[in-house]
Amino acid sequence: MHLLDNESVAARTRSAALSSASSVPEVSANRAAPSMDHLDELEAQSIYILREAFARLKKLALLWSLGKDSNVMIWLARKAFFGRVPFPAMHVDTGKKFPEMYAFRDRFGKEWDLDLRIEPCPPIDSVDPTLPPAARSAARKTEGLKLALNKYGFDGLIAGIRRDEEATRAKERVFSPRGTEGGWDVRDQPPEFWDQFNASPPQGAHLRIHPILHWTEADIWAYTKRENIPIIPLYLAKDGKRYRSLGDQDITNPVASTASNIDEILAELDGTKIPERAGRALDHETEDAFERLRVAGYL
């Protein structure tokens, strides 16, 4: 619930209480504004952030990883800009994604009328060999991202990370400056409050913009269901397993699950205490692998 206005929760609960007290449906055209539920608030905040990014940066791109979070983000961008995403959607392609993911990209890139940019990653040999194997693989993606940044000269990259995903991401700002090498300096983050964002990256550096930072995994699923946003079928259980998070084929594992639709996923999440990224090998290799990656510019 990061950055939602203080009072909106009250507005929601108060109006909800009012409407429960009245059993007669209201028909007056001049009735009070309908209350916002939790997803309405999340959506409104994300739209606000996307519009701020578009107003304040010169050359934006949205990072489309094809996963559930970035699909929600594209949906929100279409809402923010009335149907059309007014900046490129970039897929930094490791070449090692699941076939279902590529099929999804090719279909919805067209259906959603995206200005799709597919950018390759350099060979694995070019990546820091001291990193553990999965982290090294992820670092390769970071290199691919840096190449794409240099190629297009984007000053803002919209990324679908969430605070609740992983402890280091909890430290993020909504507008997060990156160094000229793409690095994240966790110690030197400017203050960010009252929905005022630091949108002036230093010369040669860029900003990461995180419009769904304040969402949770459950929020993403509830919103996907409400808005009927397409998903990759790998998220749904097959033979007792499903993917909670999708990365490269060789470093992502499914979790045990019987959830074959979004309602069942939500029910499952309500009971679980297992972290979302448990299936991502790179998070568990060393205590600080993830943080080292983020400092180097990983999402």
Binding site: M1, A33, D40, R84, A170, P191
Partner: protein
């Protein structure tokens, strides 16, 4: 808050609950046990991921150190290295009737910017105090900032009671001191709770060791927090984020900060005061939308007529619109390394509006952490103060007491947020214009010209005796600024008397009117980005003060203080000779009728220095007072 929520909203809350969600910030002095309390709360409310506690205990063992509850939060390697929590993390847990989002803000003085980032999002706060150390400067500072950020519900936790043998007397001592401090700020603590976060006393249970305490536990205090007052009942405020023309629609996009709107409403666009009607409320994938839309919604509207509006304007309803102003008084907190001083050029962000601005006065600058409130003339880092701001262009705003959302601003230095604050009052600062006069504004914004000229608009007022060298200096300065690509314009008193002011003589009234006209013309040029250089004897202190009021923060007064006898020797226009012979009446110079200025920005005696040397000095003054742009140094890097 006892309420029964309709079952219909269950599907809308993804965590399967219908309970109110409150956001909490935990603040206080470094090492007073904030992270420990958070770790303990997570454990007591059963919110830890499976295996997390065991994992951390294993990590502690591997590192050969005893387990601490605060490790739960110290997920970053860098944090463990430093031994302090360095930023906000947001963690969720459930109390009996609330979903709590916990924002862990740090206590270390270096990172007040992070505490503010966290606390600005909170519904309520827990202020933690070490029972042994008592109230410290950071405790008071955080208390003050909670008040400034508008966090009204503050629970006090007196931690480490185990280290004072659970002494009820020590608890009362601290409780009385902090309560007095907060009540003095207008913040009434919702609870004061003795605890030991390490051992668990007072967190979820009143243990035997604190049996003298009958109040709420921490978990109960959190459970009693109320979400704040709804904004939908205030007048409509829709700050314009952008105008989109992706297709044949011209959509004005923004988020409703307060009030509500619907198609057909008559609206007024501030600060220009233009009137229009909302034609449609646009959306996607379904459009248009019908019915009212309330505070918090991100919307897009179309209007019934084509008129010029831009990002930063605020849309309100007729009769309830925000104020337009170029002058604001604000209470601010400052986070920048370099103290904020009078005369400083800053960038203000008010909602989606940005404007260059000048600090014209600083008052009540204090360290909110110190016991004695010693006032300063500048606002140092982590200090607070009240400032008067003069804006380069009109903005729409409200005092924060009228509207907490449109009544707050942030200050940027070199592209980084350096401070923030609340709008205390708004001074329209411009005389009322008769209704049938419609001023037409320039097609160019002042900042467009500033970007080209590398200077802001200014009125440089050279005052001094006849023959003191005003015109010579004015001409040299004009040449210098022009050579540097600027746009200087010379307004000479005598030249004006030959034209615009030819109807005026030398009576006191006519002299006053002469100065007023010069100041008005010069100010008009300055508001449009030029540097107006006025060379005029202007002997009267009162007349010059009137000129300063007209030009406001753009005014730079230079006293050309060449001694009278030197002026008379020079006598370039032969006026002194005529006056001595009685041929010139009302001449300023040989009598005592020149009133030297005080509080002028610069004094120059031309009797003993070269013109170019004096011009250098004027140029330096213009650079240090924010008219000429200095080399851009990244002072903001350490915010």
């Amino acid at each position: 808050m006892n309420m029964i929520l309709p079952t219909a909203s269950i599907s809308a809350t993804p965590n399967g609950t219908t309970r109110p969600q409150v956001r909490i910030v935990i603040v206080g002095h470094v090492d007073h046990g904030k992270s420990t309390l958070v770790g303990r709360l997570l454990h007591e409310t059963g919110s830890l991921p499976d295996g997390k506690l065991e994992m951390l205990k294993a990590v502690s063992a591997r590192r050969g150190m005893p387990f601490e509850w605060s490790f739960l939060l110290d997920a970053l390697q860098t944090e463990r290295d430093q031994g302090i929590t360095i930023d906000t993390t947001q963690i969720r847990f459930r109390t009996r009737s609330r979903d709590v989002v916990l924002i862990d803000a740090p206590g270390h003085a270096e990172f007040l910017r992070n505490m503010i980032t966290g606390a600005s999002q909170a519904d309520g706060a827990v202020l933690i105090i070490d029972a042994l150390e008592g109230v410290r400067d950071q405790t008071r500072r955080h208390g003050y900032l909670l008040h400034l950020l508008g966090v009204k519900q503050v629970a006090i936790v007196v931690n480490k009671m185990d280290r004072v043998e659970f002494s009820a007397d020590r608890f009362k001592e601290i409780s009385d001191e902090i309560s007095a401090h907060l009540i003095g700020l207008g913040v009434r603590p919702t609870a004061v709770i003795p605890i030991s976060a390490r051992d668990g006393d007072g967190v979820a249970e009143r243990t035997a060791r604190i049996d003298w305490y009958k109040g709420a536990t921490v978990v109960e205090a959190l459970d009693a927090l109320e979400p704040a007052r709804p904004l939908v009942e205030l007048p409509l405020r829709l700050p314009v984020q952008a105008i989109y023309k992706f297709d044949d629609r011209r959509i004005v996009a923004g988020r409703i900060e307060s009030g509500s709107l619907k198609a057909g409403d008559e609206i007024v666009i501030m600060p220009t005061g233009k009137i229009a009607r909302i034609k449609t409320v646009e959306s996607w994938p379904v459009t248009p939308l019908h019915g009212p839309h309330g505070a918090g919604r991100s919307v897009g509207i179309t209007l019934d007529r084509e008129l010029f509006l831009e990002r930063g304007d605020i849309i309100g309803h007729s009769g309830q619109s925000p104020r337009d102003t170029r002058r604001i008084r604000a209470r601010i907190f400052w986070l920048h390394d370099k103290p904020l001083t009078k005369g400083e050029q800053i960038l203000i962000r008010l909602g989606t509006k940005e404007s260059r601005a000048t600090v014209v006065a600083i008052e009540k600058a204090v360290d909110p952490g110190a016991l004695s409130n010693e006032e300063n003339s500048a606002i140092a880092r982590n200090h607070v103060g009240e400032i008067d701001i003069s804006l380069a262009q009109p903005v729409a705003t409200d005092p924060y007491t009228d509207n907490p959302r449109t009544g707050r601003l942030v200050i940027e230095v070199n592209g980084r947020i350096a401070g923030g604050g609340l709008v205390l009052s708004v001074d329209a600062g411009r005389p009322a214009v008769p209704v049938d006069i419609v001023p037409v504004e320039s097609a160019l914004r002042p900042d467009e010209r500033s970007a080209r000229y590398h200077h802001n608009g200014a009125v440089i007022w050279l005052t001094g005796l006849p023959g003191s060298g005003k015109s010579t200096l004015a001409r040299a300065l004009e040449r210098r600024l022009f050579s540097n690509g600027g746009s200087p314009i010379l307004l000479d008193g005598d030249t004006f008397r030959a034209g615009l002011n030819s109807d005026l003589g030398f009576s006191p009234q006519d002299r006053t009117e002469n100065i007023r006209r010069l100041a008005e013309v010069a100010t008009h040029l300055a508001r449009n980005g030029h540097i107006a250089i006025v060379a005029a004897v202007s002997p009267s202190t009162a007349d010059r003060a009137a000129a300063r009021r007209i030009a406001d923060s753009a005014f730079r007064e230079i006293y050309v203080a060449t001694p009278a006898e030197v002026c008379e020797t020079r006598d370039p226009k032969g006026h002194y000779a005529k006056a001595r012979s009685g041929a010139l009446q009302g001449f300023t110079g040989i009598g005592n009728d020149y009133q030297p200025p005080t509080g002028n920005e610069l004094t120059i005696d031309t009797s003993n220095r070269s013109v170019s040397d004096a011009t250098d000095e004027i140029e330096r003054m213009l650079a240090t007072t924010g008219i000429l742009f200095d080399e851009l140094t990244d002072l903001a890097a350490n915010i």
